[in-house]
Every structure is written in C-alpha cells, then in structure tokens.
C-alpha cells in the first residue's frame, strides 16, 4: 500500500471513528502522554530455544509435514500476520502485544519485541489485521485500531484509535479476571466479530438478562469504526477461537465447556453458525447436549443450535483457522485447524495437540488429531498449543502460551 493511501485511510478511519483516544492513549495524530517507552526484546537463541527444539522432536504429524520453532514469544496467544506477510503480531493475556519479524526472510523470525511500549494494554489477547492493513486489538474491556501498524511498529509510539472505548465493551461492573480473553475477526461483511466470554463456570440466572443485552457469553459484531453494535451469537460459555469459512462465509467457532461435571462430560465444541442471532445453549447446556445441573429443571430457549463437532471433554478447544493456502495437500483446503490447549482437571489428561476438521459438502464436520506430542510420558505438558494462523506461503503457525513459543508447520512432501 502506498504511503499516501495509508495517510488517507488513517484520516478516513479517524473521521469515521469520531473518537479521540482517552487516558494514556495517543490522540489521533498526537503522542502518548507517557512519553517514550523502551522496547523489550526477546532473546531468540540459547538454552530455551534448544529445549523447545528438542521437545518438537516428539511431535507426530502426518507424513510429509515438519515442525520448527518459529519464534520465542512469551505468553503467545492469538496471532495475525500483517498483509505484506513479514510481520506477525501476537496477543497475550498479560499486558503486551508482541511484534515478530523475519527481516532476512529465511522463514524463521529474527526479532521479537513489544508493540507500542508507550501504550498500556490490558489482556490484549485478540489481534486481527484487516486486508487493508489496519490492526485491531481486543482487550479485556477495550478495542483499538492501529492504522498501518505493519509500517509503524518500529517506534515506541504509534497511532491508536478507539473502536470501542475503554470500559464500553462490557459494563465496567462486569469486568472480572475470568474468561477475559477476547478474539476479534473481520467477517466477509467487513464487520468486526468479537467474542465475549462470560466470567462464570455456569452463568447464574440473575445475570442472564444483562448478558443477553450486552452480548456477554456471546459474540458481538459491529462496523469497523465501532458503530452498529449488535449481538450476533447467544449461548456461548467462553470462546477464544473463530474464523469464517473461506467459501460459505459462515462463522465457525470453538467453545470451552463447563468444568466439574466429571471426566467425560460435557463435550467441548466446534460450532457452525449459519445466521445472526442463533443460540448455542449456555447456560442450559454445559456442552453438546449435556444439561447443566444448575439449569436441569429449566426449559431452554427454543431453537438451540448444537455443536457441529462434540470434542473430547475438557481438552479445551481454543484458537482455530481455516486453511485456505496451497502448500498443504489438497484434502486440507478449507479444513479447520484448531488447538486443544489441554485439560487441567481430568483424571486422564487430554489435549495439548493440534486438530484438523474436514467439512464435507453438506457441511458435516469430522475432527481428528493432526499434531500431537506436547504431553510427555509423565502426563505433564511440555507445551500447550493455543492458536493457529496461516502464513502467506501456506505454512501454518501455532502459538503456545505455556512454552512461550510459536511453531511453524510446513509441508515438505515425502
């Protein structure tokens, strides 16, 4: 994109948003009140990297695929590749967004530093680039856009514009420390889709009206400047993975299900949404068709949509992305790759793997393991895959917030 064009779109964006960032954010063309922050750089070689490479030797995948360490990125969660394909932005559940660059273009990152250190971030889990180069960052209770972040990430100060001002994503009284990781994606309709996990294990009855109105325990959508906000999805417990089918444009998303009901229920979920306003069952259903104890005697709302795939209970299905590249064998085209983070309260631990879901022409979905080996023989985690994104060359990146790393999976053939 030419610089003139960028400047024009920044101006258009700022105008459309009609908001000047508050607090310690920068004004639209101003600088941050905090002054220059220093960048933090993450060391990419040494013992930690060697240790991770050794663990990756245990990872089993179908023939012809290989996995490498792409970058060391602390607390790595949701990822988004900038349109030019050279800079990856990575969200965390702490206070940093990391910028990962591959300057020498050898397919392995060579620099990892924090994005906009002069700004403060609060659980900036969700990151998403638009095709025209705007970086959206969804935090616990704030959504901002960084125009042309791909070109302006070198300095500590960057231009930031509020999409949803701080404190307005959810009512401030509903802010909590549970299920606060958001994901944000841009639909085929050029709108933002933002997941809002509800903070409980099972949402209590007295909160349901408020949640329905605000989209907590749901997915909301809005124009890219924050206007025309509406609830797109109801009955979500805590989703941190979503993507749009490259052909049908339908939204598919994962959901994490109710804890403490036993080892084998309720199942985890991969959902397919076919229209706005559908209800997926929480809190009447704890996952799949399993009713929650709390609402066992209540009548659920009519028209509940059950998951497209019910997954093994408590494996924690998190980030996901459709494969639309050309590098992998043909059967993976338009399949979903998703990360199972792994259980924490199951007698026989499960998860810590990458799954693949094939969808047939009738929309029927079938999930199977794709990459496994992050759980060692002591049943302890050596890593926990968290999310997936695709590179321009058709390789796949997998983030791991336990190891603090990003892996690259590519197809090299036999």
């Amino acid at each position: 994109m030419k610089l003139k064009k960028i400047a024009a779109s920044i101006a258009a964006m700022a105008f459309a948003a009609g908001v000047v960032a508050k607090e310690n954010d920068v004004g639209i063309f101003g600088t941050s009140g905090k002054g220059m922050g220093d960048h933090t750089f993450i060391q990419q070689d040494g013992a930690k990297a060697d240790n991770i490479r050794a663990i990756l030797k245990n990872v089993k995948m179908p023939a012809g695929f290989k996995i490498d360490l792409y970058a060391i990125v602390p607390d790595a969660r949701d990822m988004t590749m900038a349109p030019q394909g050279t800079v990856l932005f990575v969200g965390t559940r702490k206070d940093k967004v990391w910028v990962v660059s591959d300057r020498d273009r050898d397919g392995v990152a060579d620099e990892v530093k924090d994005f906009a250190p002069s700004l403060s971030f609060d659980v900036p889990n969700g990151v998403q680039f638009s095709k025209d180069g705007f970086l959206y960052v969804a935090e616990r209770n704030h959504v901002r856009v960084f125009p042309a972040a791909e070109f302006f990430f070198e300095g500590p100060d960057v231009v930031a514009v509020d999409v949803v001002p701080k404190g307005e994503l959810i009512p401030e009284g509903e802010e909590s420390y549970n299920h606060t990781a958001r994901v944000v994606d841009i639909g085929p309709d050029n709108k933002l889709y933002i997941s809002l996990g509800q903070p409980y294990n099972v949402a209590p009855p007295e909160k349901l009206d408020l949640y329905k109105k605000t989209g907590i325990g749901g997915i909301i959508r809005m124009d890219r400047d924050g206007k025309n906000r509406e609830v797109y999805t109801y009955g979500v417990r805590n989703s941190v993975g979503q993507d749009f089918h490259p052909k049908t444009g339908e939204l598919w998303w994962t959901d994490n299900q109710v804890d403490g009901m036993g080892d084998d229920i309720p199942p985890g979920e991969l959902n397919r949404q076919t229209k706005a306003g559908q209800h997926f069952g929480h809190p009447w259903f704890g996952g799949g068709k399993t009713r929650t104890n709390e609402y066992a005697k209540e009548t659920p709302p009519a028209g509940i949509v059950h998951p497209a795939v019910s997954t093994t209970a408590h494996c924690a299905d998190l980030g996901m992305a459709f494969y639309s590249g050309n590098q992998f064998p043909k059967k993976y085209k338009n399949a979903i790759f998703s990360a199972q983070h792994g259980s924490w309260n199951r007698t026989e631990p499960c998860g810590a793997r990458v799954m693949v879901t094939f969808i047939d022409k009738d929309g029927k979905a079938k999930m199977e393991p794709f990459a496994e080996g992050w759980m060692n023989s002591n049943k302890e985690y050596d890593g926990r895959p968290m999310s997936i994104t695709m590179m321009k060359d058709g390789s796949m990146l997998v983030s791991d917030d336990y190891a603090g790393a990003i892996y690259k999976i590519s197809y090299v053939g036999s």
């Binding site: 013992a47 240790n51 607390d75 965390t92 559940r93 702490k94 659980v123 420390y177 549970n178 409980y200 294990n201 804890d259 403490g260 792994g342 259980s343 924490w344 309260n345 631990p349 002591n378 049943k379 302890e380 985690y381 926990r384 917030d401 336990y402």
Partner: protein, 142 residues
Amino acid sequence: MIMPVRSTRSHTSVANHVKKTPAQAGVFYFLENKVPVNKLIIFFLSLCLSSVAIAADMANGKVLSAQCSACHGKDGLSRDPEAPNLAGLSALYIEKSLVDYQKGARHDRRMSLIAQGLKKSQIKDLSAWYSAFELTAKVPDI
C-alpha cells in the same frame, strides 16, 4: 528446562518445616508463660501424635504436582497469567490456601474445583513439595 528444585532434599528437612508450625511456636508461649509442667507434657504428647500424622511425603507431592503444572508450571513458576507462582511459598501458606479453597473461605472458579479433589495428606505432600523449591530473585535496576 532449568528447574530450581532441590529434589534431593531429605526427610529431615521436611521435618524441619513441620517444626516451624504455629503449634510449635505455641510451645514457646507455654515456656515463656510458665505453664504447669503436667499441662506441658500433655501438650507435647499431642504434638508428637500430630507430627506423626502430618509428616509430609515430598515424593508423593512431586507426583501429585503433575496436575498443578499446567497452570503453576513444573518449576512452580506460573504459566497462567491468573495463577500465582508456588515455588518457595511457605508450606503453611500453601496448605492454608488449599484448605480455604476447599472450605469456601476463598473462592476461585478453578482452584475451588481442584481443591475439592485433594485429601488432607495430599495437601501436606503438595505443600512440602512446592515449599522446598529454591528461588533467586533479580530485583529491577531503576
């Protein structure tokens, strides 16, 4: 992975930490306040009995800690932004926290569920395990 864990620590040092319980501190209270000797003997007897009951099995703590490491890290350094480090916390505090989660005096969506599944002896074992980790801290230079 670098694990700041002293895994060869002997049972004597576990016994050491048992000696530091408030019940023990109470002994000094009795001594300083000149409590009659017969009462003291009974107190010591009961103390011996309870010491036997609470001798922690660190090796078992290590085994049990596999279910904690997803969040608190194998090295007791947290991997989950909502979870604290456990490495080097006092055994007493770990034990108290777990009992508080169990009894509802403290509530957390996940810890309360986890604590439900732990027996008293397992709590002791886990507390002995994590309290034995050794840490060094690097204080920021400002």
